[in-house]
């Protein structure tokens, strides 16, 4: 995740606009792990809206999707900090 060039916390995203709205996404699928990982930090925490620029509606959908994916063991609840 830290090597991810599009990671929102790397300061790469200057434009504060919702990626989901821009792409015209209607439903965020919990099975789409690659997308979910883009908006999650190294510990597996959901990034805040002020960092990612998600719209309120999509942030809500996204957080449900993350929680579903966590339940199905597709993404971790917590990641041990590998030092």
């Amino acid at each position: 995740m830290i090597n991810n060039p599009s990671h929102p916390k790397k300061g790469h995203l200057k434009t504060k606009e919702c990626k989901f709205t821009k792409a015209g996404i209607e439903y965020i699928d919990f099975k789409d792990t690659d997308t979910l990982l883009r908006f999650i930090n190294d510990q597996g925490k959901i990034l805040p809206r002020r960092v990612t620029g998600n719209s309120a509606r999509h942030q809500r959908q996204f957080s449900t999707a993350v929680k579903r994916a966590r339940f199905m063991a597709m993404i971790p609840y917590v990641t041990e900090n590998l030092r």
């Binding site: 790469h12 990626k19 439903y27 883009r38 199905m72 063991a73 971790p76």
Partner: protein, 127 residues
């Protein structure tokens, strides 16, 4: 009776063999059909690494399926899945209009792309 569109994902115990997996998938499909449902699509993802151990196991056999069924079918289905020890997790979702549209798009293969060629942009900025 009015039928709803559902998605069901479940994880099977990975220590079983292929024959037993097939048996269990058939068992779940039969459960749905016995309760008045129709299977639309079954997708077996196969054995995958789990993000965290469940019942002391580090991998699981994922099955994802779509079906149409009346509302009354869900309760007996989930009860039977809960009782079965070889099914470690299951998740049933009822699809609304938006989710269904998303599903149709995904099937056709033209889902909107969220991240397009981010790395290429990075290189061009360096000059």
């Amino acid at each position: 009776m009015n039928k709803e569109f559902y998605e069901l994902t479940y994880i099977l115990n990975p220590v079983l063999d292929d024959e037993k997996f097939k048996e269990l998938v058939d068992y779940v499909n039969k459960l749905i059909e016995d309760n008045g449902g129709d299977i639309v699509e079954v997708d077996e993802w196969g054995t995958r690494q789990l993000a965290y151990p469940i019942e002391k196991k580090n991998s699981g056999y994922y099955v994802n399926l779509y079906f149409e069924a009346p509302k009354t079918a869900i309760e007996p289905l989930e009860r039977n899945m809960r009782i079965n020890d070889d099914i470690m997790r299951y998740l049933t979702l009822k699809y609304d209009a938006k989710m269904k549209r998303h599903y149709e798009l995904k099937k056709k293969g033209d889902l909107p792309v969220i991240f397009d060629d981010v790395e290429e942009n990075d290189n061009s900025d360096e000059d």
